[in-house]
Structure formats: structure tokens, C-alpha cells
């Protein structure tokens, strides 16, 4: 239990947390703003990674490849959105269907289950090697942090526009939205596209960072993203009220999640095989808290409601 081992691993943990933070922001958009649990992400993360790696290997510029990964992610969101709105399939099931289909699609994109990319041969934007001993502007932590800030700024702007407001209203109250002339089906599809676009981009960064795209790289992404959302809210919701800060707190939540995970492994409390089990249990408990609160403290809430209604 050498603390230096833990400290040495921190920059890498930070980078990973930041990259997953972009996925978490995508999940925040569907789960918190649109109020749907979208399971597409388990597939679209890999789609993003696969598209990025395959394009780079075939000689494309890294930015073009990442743009393509983002667009591919958006297409997966479009598919889920159409399953849900046009075909009337419940959102969760629609996401599961897309996710399953994407397994085949991702295999087809990569040609096999795993595709590596050589750091020395290609100009990667981020990499697990660019963490120490590189100029700060090449440092993966810096690069992903800047990416995150740009994305947050874009999303902050977007959700302040007429279209973005319509999307927020759709997630909050569908009846009201339609009564105000909002096409709620369109809003949902658009939200799913934006969300999965971010997840695809996150997958592209993750694949570069680890040096390969893998058919299983998205497994459990929804749970990791939810964990980040929940941790971010639990820690920062009292101080961060502005929408941009809320998105940042999700990214910070993702970093915290990876730090906790790394620490738990370092302390030898759980071995790495059990990490997903641990994550699932922690997220389950956090998701239960609002329910328990309403169930066991409901008297207090009724009283409060009564007072505000009077």
C-alpha cells in the first residue's frame, strides 16, 4: 500500500475521468433534461471509438476522425429516437434495441473485435503517454479539459436558445410543451442525437487514449455516466446553480468517480474484477435515495406541499 503508487496513477485517473465526463454530460442531457434513460450509450461509445480509430488508421486527420465519430454517435441517437417516437417503443427498450444492433455494426466497422492504433505512427490528440513529460498544451488532461469547457459553453448557449428551451420544456412537461406548440417528438429525437453525439466523441477520445477501440469498451457506460451525474450533483448541487456549472459538476463527478475507484483498488478493498459490481450497487443505492426519501419522509413533504398550496 504505497501511497506513491496511488499518487503516480492520479494524472491518468484524472485524464480518464475527464474523458468519461463527456459521456456523463451526454447522459445528463437525456437522463436529467429529457427525462429518459437512454441505453444507446453502451453501444454508441464504442461506435465513436471504432469510427475514430478506423478513420485514423486509413489516413484521416484526427479532427476529421473525431468529427465523424461524433456524427456517427448522433446517428445512433437518431435511430433510438425514431424507434421511440415514430415506432412508439418505450425509450428504454428503444435504447436496448439500438445497443444490440450496434454490437454488429461496431464489429463491421472494426472488422474484428479490437483495433489498435500505434501512437508512434499517428498524430493522436490524446494518449495515455501524453500525461507526463510533454508540453502542457499537449498534455491529455489539458486537452480534454479544454474540450470539455468548449462543449459546456456550446451546450450552455444551445439550451438558452428557443430550440434548447423547447427541449428542456419537453423533458419537464410534455403536455404543457405540446399545448405551447412544441413538437415533443422532435425534441426527444434531437436530445438523443446531441447526447449520443457527445458519447461518440467521448468514445473517440477514449479509444485514442487507450490506444485501441474494443467491442466491449462501452459496456456499462450508462451506469458509469449515471454515477458521475449522481456524484456531481451530490457534491456540488448546493453551490452550483447555473446550468453551465451543473454540467461542469457532472464532469467533476466523473473525475471523483474514477479517483474513488482507483483508491478503492489501491487499498485492496475490492479486486478489479468486482469493480463493475461495486459501481452497480453504488448507483443503485443513490438512485434509491429520492424514492426512499419520498416514501419514508412523505409526511413532511405533504405538510410542506399543503403550506405552499394555501
Amino acid at each position: 500500500m504505497n501511497i506513491l503508487h496511488l499518487l503516480n496513477s492520479m494524472p491518468g485517473t484524472l485524464a480518464q475521468g475527464l474523458i468519461w465526463g463527456i459521456t456523463a454530460i451526454g447522459i445528463y442531457i437525456t437522463y436529467r433534461i429529457l427525462d429518459v434513460a437512454d441505453l444507446t450509450v453502451d453501444g454508441s461509445l464504442c461506435t465513436g471509438g471504432a469510427v475514430c480509430i478506423m478513420m485514423m488508421v486509413s489516413g484521416q486527420n484526427v479532427f476529421i476522425s473525431m468529427l465523424a465519430a461524433t456524427l456517427a454517435g448522433m446517428v445512433t441517437g437518431l435511430v433510438t429516437g425514431l424507434f421511440h417516437t415514430f415506432m412508439g417503443i418505450p425509450a428504454i427498450l428503444a435504447g436496448i434495441l439500438t445497443q444490440l444492433g450496434l454490437y454488429s455494426v461496431n464489429l463491421k466497422i472494426m472488422g474484428k473485435a479490437n483495433q489498435a492504433i500505434n501512437v508512434d505512427k499517428y498524430n493522436l490528440l490524446v494518449c495515455s503517454r501524453y500525461i507526463k513529460g510533454v508540453p502542457f498544451y499537449q498534455n491529455t488532461i489539458f486537452v480534454v479539459a479544454v474540450c470539455t469547457l468548449i462543449l459546456v459553453a456550446l451546450l450552455y448557449w444551445f439550451f438558452g436558445t428557443e430550440l434548447g428551451c423547447a427541449l428542456r420544456a419537453t423533458g419537464c412537461n410534455g403536455n404543457m410543451s405540446r399545448a405551447q406548440g412544441i413538437n415533443t417528438n422532435f425534441s426527444k429525437v434531437l436530445g438523443l442525437m446531441i447526447s449520443n453525439g457527445l458519447v461518440g466523441l467521448s468514445g473517440a477520445l477514449l479509444a485514442q487514449y487507450q490506444g485501441f477501440a474494443d467491442i466491449n469498451m462501452g459496456r456499462g457506460a450508462i451506469v458509469i455516466g449515471l454515477a458521475a451525474v449522481i456524484i456531481g450533483e451530490a457534491v456540488f448541487s448546493r453551490i452550483f446553480h447555473n446550468f453551465a456549472l451543473k454540467l461542469i459538476s457532472v464532469a467533476l463527478g466523473s473525475i471523483l468517480y474514477y479517483i474513488v475507484l482507483q483508491t478503492v483498488v489501491w487499498m485492496g478493498i475490492v479486486d478489479t474484477d468486482n469493480l463493475k459490481l461495486l459501481t452497480a450497487l453504488i448507483v443503485a443505492v443513490f438512485l434509491a435515495i429520492p424514492y426512499w426519501k419520498s416514501k419514508y419522509f412523505s409526511k413532511a413533504i405533504v405538510k410542506k406541499g399543503g403550506r405552499t398550496n394555501a
Binding site: M176, I182, T308
Partner: protein, 264 residues
């Protein structure tokens, strides 16, 4: 203004729960009409409004608003013509959004929404002035989340939202039923004020017979998905609760039972 022609709606057809909610229903409103609607529970009042608003498609018949056939238009497209306030104060507003944001959403009813700002500075000033007519102090709380407001405040705000962009037809579905008597009276007073000021064509469902008599220039009573009473003009002006009860008994061939007494 509004023409409902022979509209029929059956819920859960072919099942034991089959319900003929609108039975060859017809109603025509003139420009500027303020029609109050009464009827017992399950008479089809809300169904009539949902048919106009397009919550689902009707089984038969036709609905025209200002001469435009809207029978096949989806709900969000008909919204262009309609202002709506619902019975449940939670239904008409977005709780997690601010008062001004809710108003800004309503201001854009019927417009295509683009990447232009969701709310402008100029609008904020406008909303501040507008909220003053509610006399609830909301003009100082523009950025407060609507979820923090009381039921009465939310209903008053919904009313403002429904009329912010002048609708061709205002639909009020027992919009004061969930409020305490004092708040209900106030929201109703504001309703009357806005309807008069903007000369709105209005359909108002109410569970209160007195309100139905006092307000509007025409009164209809529904039963089993049909209009069984239609009182307008001079007759409506002179109408009393006692007349209404007598007319009801004559029209329905039933005693006015306790069950239906929720009307008054």
C-alpha cells in the same frame, strides 16, 4: 370561429371498458362567444376539449377553427390557434423552468423554434409589466422556478401564458377546481378581465353552476357525450340556478340527484 361537426369518440373500443365519450357531437361558436360548460362527472366535457386540442384523433366528424380544418392536425400544430388552461395546476407550466422562461415558451406558441435566443431583454421588461395584472407579486420573481409557486399562482401564470399570444380560442378546463375558494375567485376574476380585454372566444368548463351563470354569454350542459341544454342571449342573462335545475330535469328526464349536485 369554432365548428365541431358530428364528432364521435369511443374510448377502448371492443373492450369491456368501451365508452362512447362523444356521441355525434356538434357545436358552433361565434367570434367573441364566451361559453360556459357544465355537466356531471364523465359527461364528456374534458373529452370535448381534448378533441378540439388534438390530444388524439376523433373517430368521426370534423373540427374547424376559423374555417381551417384541424381534424387531422397533431396537437402541437393546433396549439397555434389555442390557449389552454388545465384543471391540474401542475399540467400547464414547466416546473423546473423560471417564470420568465415559461412565459417565453408561451410567447413562441405557433412559431417555428430556431437557434435564436429563448428569451430577450425586451421580453423580460414586457413580462414584468404583464405579471402586474395578476397582482400576485410575481413581477419581482421573474427567474424563480415555477415549481416553487402555489397552485393558484401557477394557474394564474398558465392563464397568462395561454393568452400571451392571442389565441383564436381559449380553452379552460375546470381551471379553478383545484384551488381554494378565495384563490379560485381571484383567478376567475382575472380570466374575465383578460377575456374582455382581448375579446377572446372562450370555452370554460366549470363545476360551479353559479360561475357558469354569471360568466359568459352562452351556457351548455353536457350529458353522456351530448349537449342536453343550450342557453344563450336574453335567456342566459336572466338565468338563475333554480331555472337551470328545472331545465336540467326537463331535458334529461331525471331528478337532480345528489351525485350531480357537484355542479353547484
Amino acid at each position: 370561429m369554432l365548428e365541431i361537426k358530428n364528432v364521435t369518440k369511443v374510448f377502448n373500443p371492443g373492450t369491456v371498458n368501451e365508452k362512447l365519450a362523444l356521441d355525434n357531437f356538434s357545436l358552433t361558436l361565434e367570434d367573441g362567444d364566451f361559453v360556459t360548460v357544465i355537466g356531471g362527472n364523465g359527461a364528456g366535457k374534458s373529452t370535448m376539449m381534448n378533441a378540439i386540442a388534438g390530444a388524439w384523433t376523433v373517430d368521426a366528424g370534423q373540427i374547424l377553427i376559423d374555417g381551417i380544418d384541424v381534424t387531422k392536425l397533431p396537437e402541437h400544430k393546433r396549439a397555434k390557434f389555442l390557449g389552454r388552461v388545465f384543471q391540474d395546476p401542475m399540467t400547464g407550466t414547466a416546473a423546473t423552468m423560471g417564470i420568465e422562461e415559461n412565459l417565453a415558451l408561451a410567447k413562441r406558441r405557433g412559431n417555428t423554434r430556431f437557434l435564436t435566443p429563448g428569451i430577450t431583454k425586451k421580453e423580460r421588461e414586457e413580462y414584468k409589466e404583464l405579471l402586474k395584472i395578476l397582482d400576485l407579486g410575481l413581477e419581482t420573481r421573474l427567474t424563480s422556478k415555477v415549481g416553487l409557486l402555489s397552485g393558484g399562482q401557477r394557474q394564474a401564470l398558465t392563464l397568462l401564458m395561454a393568452t400571451l399570444k392571442k389565441p383564436k380560442l381559449l380553452l379552460l378546463d375546470e381551471h379553478t377546481a383545484a384551488l381554494d375558494p378565495k384563490t379560485a375567485a381571484k383567478v376567475l376574476e382575472t380570466t374575465e378581465y383578460i377575456v374582455q380585454k382581448d375579446h377572446l372566444t372562450t370555452l370554460m368548463i366549470t363545476h360551479n353552476m353559479k360561475d357558469a351563470i354569471v360568466h359568459g354569454n352562452r351556457l351548455i350542459m353536457l350529458m353522456d357525450g351530448k349537449i342536453i341544454l343550450d342557453i344563450k342571449g336574453e335567456e342566459k342573462k336572466r338565468l338563475t340556478v333554480k331555472d337551470l335545475l328545472q331545465k336540467f330535469e326537463a331535458a334529461s328526464g331525471e331528478e337532480f340527484t345528489n351525485d350531480q349536485a357537484i355542479l353547484g
